[in-house]
């Protein structure tokens, strides 16, 4: 028994090492006082100072944050509405339509959005096209989370609210929204992280003038993986991690709130 358990722990440890070692290397080398990612020389904040002075990088960061905020906001509103609709009207087709972009290979979504923007909408690629593209793949995630939250709920709660004098809007405001709020917040945080580190779809829909953090990092490593890339990757990682932990916190509330 004890040996089997030790074996399991060892296997788990190896898997975690495999997953997180590359990330750890990036983090460690972002503090390395050397131009090369070869050997540890000494600790420095230098690459973070370089980063803060890099106008292209800062511009890309602002773009990323604006797009992530906009996309998560719009996707949360639309996704919540979709989740409610799917749940309430027992729809068959809408769930597939909403959830497909989540499962669709990103490259497909990227190419088709590109063609759609250029050939159908005659849109100049830029911030707006990236924003729309990000909204399309975030909506599905929010809808899934909201719907899952609603799935375990007693339908008669909403009827009871109507019955006790609440208008449909008051039912939403006083009963539905408070009950699904953890899922809505988790969906918004997930959308934010999905948007801020999306590369493939952004690559196709950004055009030439606009850059986001992932695009900027990619253009930098075409030359070499500089410590500056390590530094910006570390910051992005930190942000994503914070968002996921926050979302998980609300997600646990989802679980606890049941029953």
């Amino acid at each position: 028994m004890r040996e089997a358990r030790t074996g399991l722990w060892a296997a788990a440890l190896l898997v975690y090492l495999f997953l997180y070692l590359p990330l750890a290397v990036v983090v460690v080398y972002s503090f390395n006082d050397s131009r090369l990612n070869a050997e540890w020389v000494g600790f420095t904040w230098r690459w973070y100072r370089v980063l803060l002075a890099d106008e292209g990088m800062l511009h890309a960061a602002v773009n990323s944050i604006l797009i992530a905020l906009g996309a998560s906001l719009v996707a949360t509103v639309l996704g919540t509405m979709a989740g409610l609709a799917i749940h309430r009207y027992h729809l068959r087709v809408l769930p597939i339509l909403v959830i497909t972009p989540v499962a669709m290979p990103e490259i497909l979504l990227g190419v088709s959005l590109l063609l759609f923007f250029i050939q159908v909408l005659h849109l100049t690629l830029g911030l707006v096209s990236v924003l729309i593209a990000h909204i399309t793949f975030c909506v599905g995630f929010v809808a899934i989370v909201v719907r899952a939250r609603l799935a375990g709920m007693d339908e008669s709660i909403f009827e009871a609210a109507r019955d006790l004098g609440a208008t449909p809007w008051q039912v939403f405001r006083r009963v539905t929204l408070p009950l699904i709020l953890p899922a809505v917040i988790a969906g918004a945080l997930m959308s934010f992280t999905l948007s801020i580190d999306d590369f493939v779809i952004t690559f196709f829909t950004a055009g030439v003038g606009v850059s986001t953090l992932p695009l900027q990092i990619y253009s930098m490593i075409k030359i070499a993986v500089t410590p500056e890339v390590n530094a910006v990757s570390t910051l992005l990682m930190l942000l994503t991690l914070a968002m996921i932990l926050l979302a998980a916190r609300f997600d646990r509330t989802v679980l606890r709130g049941r029953g």
């Binding site: 008669s156 009871a160 004098g165 009950l179």
Partner: protein
């Protein structure tokens, strides 16, 4: 004028009439029960009165005014749901206060009314608790308080005692009767449990397949069921296919399948076919050779008996092969000591039982 009137109310689901041309009137202050097996249409009627479902035909009138164009939140009635439907994110006090808040009752008055209501249902100490911290019976009382606090004209109760265990249910039945008397609000109660309906109601509508089979007081429904369905659904009863043979000495001779001739009361004429129904408590069990003045007497063998504390029910197989059920209180002084397989006779009075049309 009736407080609530249903006129030719009809609701179809996919061509099948769940509620089929139902008309009835419910008086102010009444405890009215819709009783029937599941799928008989009783809950559909309740949902249409509450406004969650719309009739395909007919009308629902409250104080003589049609409710057709009035959404659920504007109807002066509240519902107590089978699942209680308490708001999980609100405390007991906020749950009970919800309808007052929706009606924009001033906060101070709302607080006072919620406190009074919680007193009435013995939950004053649970005001700050959340629904998941309550027992089934407590949730039940919160749901009742929430339904009553807004002083609706009507309270609709959809199998509200269905989820409670037997002892709690009996206690809640007594509380419900007292509560309804105290608040003076008209109750429409939906249940499939006939003892519950008999115990609680002023009047009962027995429903089957979307129609009302009989409407009357509990005593009328139990003592004088109008047809085979009602007789069979309300309480235990022995039913035999029968035909009236002749009229003699103010009573009628029946030919009953498997029994032969019996004497029983009826207003119908010879030649009429139907069902002879007799309650187990009207059937006596006597010793096989004992003399009796009762006109209906048949020998048989005791097959089974079921002792349930206060009474015992006996299954007797008559010599003709027909089974009949008898019920005796265990406190009865002349209760025969019987074992399965014993030779006995069953007997009943000439004015016992009923002749029903199919």
């Amino acid at each position: 004028m009736a407080l609530l009137e249903l006129r030719h109310l009809t609701r179809r689901f996919g061509g099948i009439a769940a509620v089929d041309d139902v008309s009835l009137g419910i008086e102010a202050g009444e405890f009215f029960t819709l009783l029937g097996p599941s799928g008989c249409g009783k809950t559909t009627i309740l949902r249409m009165v509450a406004g969650f479902d719309l009739p395909d035909g007919g009308a629902i009138l409250l104080d003589g005014h049609s409710l057709a164009d009035i959404p659920p939140e504007k109807r002066p009635l509240h519902t107590v749901f089978q699942s209680y439907a308490l708001f999980p994110h609100l405390s007991v006090a906020d749950n009970v206060g919800f309808p007052l808040r929706m009606a924009r009752v001033p906060a101070a008055e709302a607080r006072r009314r919620v406190a009074d209501m919680l007193d009435t249902v013995h939950l004053a100490d649970k005001a700050d608790a959340y629904p998941h911290e309550l027992s089934g019976g407590q949730k039940q009382r919160v749901a009742l308080a929430r339904g009553l606090v807004g002083k609706p004209r009507l309270l609709l109760l959809d199998e509200p005692l269905g989820a409670l265990d037997h002892k709690l249910r009996s206690a809640m039945q007594s509380e419900l009767i007292a509560l309804q008397r105290n608040v003076g609000i008209t109750f429409i109660f939906v249940t499939h449990s006939q003892p519950e309906a008999l115990a609680l109601s002023h009047r009962i509508a027995v429903m089957n397949a979307g129609r009302i089979e009989q409407l009357g007081t509990p005593a009328e429904i139990y003592g004088h069921p109008r047809n085979r369905f009602v007789a069979d659904f309300i309480g235990d009863i022995n039913l035999f296919d029968a035909e009236i043979v002749e009229r003699a000495q103010g009573t009628l001779q029946f030919a009953v399948a498997g029994l032969g001739h019996i004497v029983a009361p009826t207003v119908d004429s010879p030649g009429r076919r139907g069902v002879f129904a007799i309650r187990p408590e009207q059937v006596h069990i006597i010793a096989a050779d004992a003399p009796t003045e009762l006109p209906n007497r048949f020998p048989g063998t005791l097959r089974e008996f079921l002792y349930v504390g206060d009474v015992t029910t006996y299954q007797v197989e008559l010599d003709s092969g027909v089974r009949i059920q008898a019920l005796l209180p265990n406190a009865a002084p002349a209760r025969p000591q019987l074992a399965a397989g014993a030779r006995v006779a069953v007997a009943w009075a000439g004015d016992a039982g009923l002749f029903l049309h199919d």
